[in-house]
Symmetry: C2
Subunit: 341 residues, 2 copies
Amino acid sequence: MSALTELTNHQVRLAARPVGLPKRSDWNFTTEPVREPVESGFVVKTLMLSLDPAMRGWMNEGKSYIPPVALGEVMRAGGVGQVIASRHASFPVGTYVSAGLGVQEYRAFDSGKGVTAIDLSVAPLEKWLNALGMPGMTGYFGLLDVGQPKPGETVVVSGASGAVGQTVGQVAKLKGCRVVGIAGGQAKCDFVVRELGFDACIDYRAGDVRDGLKKYCPTGVDVYFDNVGGEILDTVLTRINRGARIIICGAISQYNNTTPVKGPANYLSLLVNRARMEGIVVFDYADRYPVALKDIAQWMAEGKFTSREDIVEGLETFPEALLKLFSGENFGKLVLRVAGN
Amino acid sequence: MSALTELTNHQVRLAARPVGLPKRSDWNFTTEPVREPVESGFVVKTLMLSLDPAMRGWMNEGKSYIPPVALGEVMRAGGVGQVIASRHASFPVGTYVSAGLGVQEYRAFDSGKGVTAIDLSVAPLEKWLNALGMPGMTGYFGLLDVGQPKPGETVVVSGASGAVGQTVGQVAKLKGCRVVGIAGGQAKCDFVVRELGFDACIDYRAGDVRDGLKKYCPTGVDVYFDNVGGEILDTVLTRINRGARIIICGAISQYNNTTPVKGPANYLSLLVNRARMEGIVVFDYADRYPVALKDIAQWMAEGKFTSREDIVEGLETFPEALLKLFSGENFGKLVLRVAGN
């Protein structure tokens, strides 16, 4: 381990609020020395960062569920890393942690607040950014708490091969539901059916989602977990059952719009079907993360739950890596490896 | 009372599915003899009919919460009337009833199914189509069951001076909420504040609804009861609080569209605020109507609850009377008086 003073912290900062897709010029690459930990503080070396659709929202001005990233600030990102210097008894050097590290190589923490030690004997590093991280928690609580699926019901999830979708579909299967994914491309559809055990998957790039829903959800849709918004949300609204629950988790199709968001024109289906559309923000469930972690870790250990990550290498590739989410190029949870462990 | 054979039943039938606002040529005026009641049947003379925005939906083809009115069929309408011939022990001649009478002067029932005797000592006829009828039930259960308002919360209701809005606002006040209406025109706004006791009312024709919400809902909106859809729904979505409940009761602004319904572009506010948008159809609460009737009748008797009806005269004016709903010309629950009682 090098002395801290010899280290340079490479960082990616928000330089401009993007219009449409974020461009390389919307970012600034900066360096900073790594500072010594204060008393009860510690320094974490970033190993992997989570790249998420929500990041696009954080880059916009305006009120949301968390404040926007300020111009000039290191871009916000969740990540996993290792403690390399410590004056905190609970986070000794060598501890692997999950925390808001930001898009940078090192972060000094002044306390353990918001930092969680992770156990690599349960699952490798990248899983702590996926099924055992925010996407897993989002899928687990969004599906179970907001969606309230009952055995035998039909659950549809968009972004099915993505980070949240993987968990939603597998948890729904474990709860006895019929599960139909929506994903882009044959490879992703094959993956969710063959590897994750979904009952079917609709390739929205190959054909009509409405036809797919008619074919694969012959008794209608009871729970729809929406990660994409736009046309797909509107189409699913035409196929929901009475009392259906729609979980609004995100709307990746709309995040880079330069025109206003497209609202769901078929929302009156909520009235006809006495159905519900409800938003979820994962942070609200923080108190109960341990419950979900225990369940998912156990399912993993029993071979009933798997996950897939798409790992991109190198902090400097961050601007382009992030765009894979919006083109749908990523296949599985998108992770940026910043350093080896 | 004339012999049934001497009576002619004037009827209004759906002649064509309207495009946009229903025109007079979308209706057929027909006559039929009045038939004698079968055993356990009875004949009701229509006194008043309820004219409702939902009727516009029933005129369209396609799946909804009830089948569309068929072309050539007597237009569906709820109404109140009096039994004029009877072979049913529970509905003797002279009984006042509420039932699906249709837009016609007489209806023969073969059983008492769907027919409810009403007590004019509790409230006059027109109130049984308003606060003690479907609009009252809709407002009561939509607000309390779906909206779940808590004392001190802010409840906003659009179509505030209309049939459903009157009940929503007054029940919310009785439950200890701050209540803000949205209505068209100063007279309606004055009415809901002065007569119904709302805390404030925003005249959407006079100014900016967003400014009004900022002014009159300084702590945000906890419950929004939506009767109108369109721009107003979109604007309220920008002002909702965390955990807000939006009741989708109707979307009168969209019913005569010849272009697609405008979906709520700000629906992602549901995500940011972990809020819910849920549809209501009053028929689901039929088992519990007596509970609501008892409450509302008692509030009326105690002088804590009032209502206003806009009574238009004559079956033959039905086509034009219905349009008042969509122009907003009606002031209070729109009722068509077909005959005197």
